[in-house]
């Protein structure tokens, strides 16, 4: 031990040395005096070299986290105390500060802080004896706080849009999770627009990045829903999704957020605050991407309802016309009994009225019927379109192509129909105006 100790002092020779010369051998040896610096250095090296890094168990007291990020605390048992320091680099990975009096085990190396002569343990890992360790402690604490604030309340959960236009995704840009999500959306709903904000999803600072990404995406115009995703991993790997910043960003998001973090059994704070928790990234993608077949069926059903709606309108007009006609005749008969002369006039009037009505609304009915046919999945001709052709097979398109008396043929679905233009053509746009003035002139 003596030799070893001396080895430690190579850079610091004693202040006075016993002289080699025999003539001075009899003089009383001067005491060897060390500087404080030397002795602290020697002690530190002794400590560091003679004890390996080790686990120490005890009760924690006076845990303080400095603004610098370093943590200082004391570990004690019934008989002794040990000063401990955990530097920022390691302390930053600590999910929570331990409670006063909590039983801990810490891993680290013993040393002496030379400047103060203080004996201390430099801690690199800190764990609790309880199940789940510091992670569970931090999780439970944050969850309790969020529960109190109501952020995990099921009543806060917003429904996802059934037919989103744009989906925002927060995940690692090179991850399998992203590839899975994109594959699911491409298969189910390739018409969607997907906007990705890539982040780190583990390690110190991942939580802040994830939180910032959620806020960014929610602000992108058009984004209807945001997916936060990561594949499976250890609780330490998933820790970013358990950070308060993520919980806040998800809660504040103006659009619904789906969380698909880890595997089936992993539950994170992000999952609890999100509007929907999916078991995996792929499952999350399925919740935001409506299936193409389903949407197509939905559209077909809508088309049928539209058709039925219009048919109903048309039916109610027909019924109304019938009623009108009947009542006009009935009234007419009553008047016949009062005045035979007026009967003829009335009969003429009502006949004319009904004819006019039928002429007017009958046109509308055929238009309605044609519009209904447009829904039918038959070919163009089968939809009821007919193509007028002249004798040479040339297309006739405009009113000018139909002088009075002209013969032409109509091409319909299964053949040709001979036709003739029996009146003067009327241009469609000017239709209404011309009719009015024409009627006036006719009187």
């Amino acid at each position: 031990m003596t030799d070893r100790t001396l080895d430690l002092f190579t850079e610091a020779p004693p202040a006075q040395r016993v002289a080699d010369s025999p003539s001075e051998a009899n003089a009383p040896p001067a005491p060897r005096v060390w500087t404080v610096r030397q002795i602290n250095r020697a002690s530190r090296l002794l400590l560091e070299e003679s004890l390996p890094r080790l686990w120490v168990g005890g009760e924690v007291t006076n845990f303080r986290r400095q603004r610098s990020g370093h943590c200082y605390f004391t570990l004690k048992d019934e008989a002794a105390q040990l000063r401990c320091v955990m530097f920022r680099r390691d302390a930053a990975r600590l999910p929570a500060d331990p409670d006063e009096g909590m039983t801990l085990r810490v891993f680290g190396g013993l040393t002496l802080y030379e400047a103060r002569g203080v004996f201390q343990l430099i801690v690199s890992k800190l764990e609790t004896e309880s199940e789940g360790g510091m992670w569970k402690l931090a999780f439970d604490r944050l969850r309790a706080r969020l529960d109190t604030e109501g952020l995990t309340d099921p009543g806060r959960k917003r429904p996802l849009p059934a037919f989103p236009g744009t989906v925002g995704i927060v995940t690692s840009p090179t991850s399998a999770a992203l590839r899975d999500i994109v594959a699911v959306i491409a298969r189910r709903a390739p018409w969607l627009r997907v906007v990705v904000r890539g982040t780190r999803v583990q390690g110190v600072g991942a939580g802040e990045e994830i939180a910032a990404a959620v806020s960014m995406l929610a602000r992108v115009p058009g984004v209807d829903v945001v997916v936060v995703a990561r594949g499976g991993g250890s609780i330490e790997d998933l820790w970013g999704f358990n950070e308060e910043a993520v919980a806040r960003a998800v809660a504040l998001s103006p659009v619904p957020v789906v969380s698909g973090v880890g595997h089936e059994t992993d539950v994170t704070i992000c999952d609890l605050v999100a509007d929907l928790r999916a078991a995996t990234p792929s499952a999350a993608a399925e919740t935001v991407a409506p299936d193409r077949q389903w949407v197509a069926k939905r559209l077909d059903a809508m088309g049928q309802r539209l058709g039925r709606g219009l048919a109903r309108q048309v039916r109610s007009r027909r019924w109304w016309l019938d009623q009108l006609g009947d009542s006009l005749f009935r009234r007419g008969r009553r008047r016949v009994q009062a005045s035979r002369d007026r009967l003829d006039a009335a009969r003429l009037q009502m006949a004319a009225a009904v004819r006019a009505r039928i002429r007017r609304d009958g046109g509308r009915l055929s238009e309605a019927a044609a519009a209904l046919d447009a829904l039918s999945p038959l070919s163009t001709l089968a939809r009821g379109y007919a193509v007028p052709l002249d004798r040479d097979g040339k297309l006739l398109r405009r009113t000018g192509d139909f002088p009075r008396g002209r013969d032409f043929r109509l091409r319909v679905l299964d053949g040709y129909v001979p036709c003739a233009a029996t009146g003067r053509p009327v241009e469609a746009a000017a239709n209404a105006a011309k009719q009015t003035t024409g009627d006036d002139r006719g009187k």
Binding site: S175, P190, V196, R197, A213, V220, G231, L310
Partner: protein, 84 residues
């Protein structure tokens, strides 16, 4: 409505139209106009559904203000940077 109208907005509009067609207060011109509008929405929605290629964009820059086209392929191998 323009072509960039989302599926959701179109379906909502069609729902409104169907509800209107079920009411008795429309006159025939209105009913026809609504019906035609509904049919147009259906057509546009079907066109949208026929799209086959998924568009993926990436928000880039520290503030995420820029948008870039993103390729998410199988050619990047399995296991990403930090395997998310």
């Amino acid at each position: 409505m323009a072509n960039d109208v989302g599926l959701d907005a179109r379906l909502k509009r069609i729902e409104e139209i169907v509800a209107a067609l079920d009411s008795d207060t429309l006159d025939l011109d209105e009913a026809l106009a609504l019906f035609e509008e509904g049919v147009a929405h259906l057509g546009q929605a079907r066109e949208m559904l026929a799209r086959t290629e998924l568009r993926v964009e990436e928000l880039i820059g520290p503030e995420g203000d820029a948008v870039g086209e993103m390729r998410v392929g199988d050619d990047e191998g399995t296991g990403g940077r930090d395997d998310g």
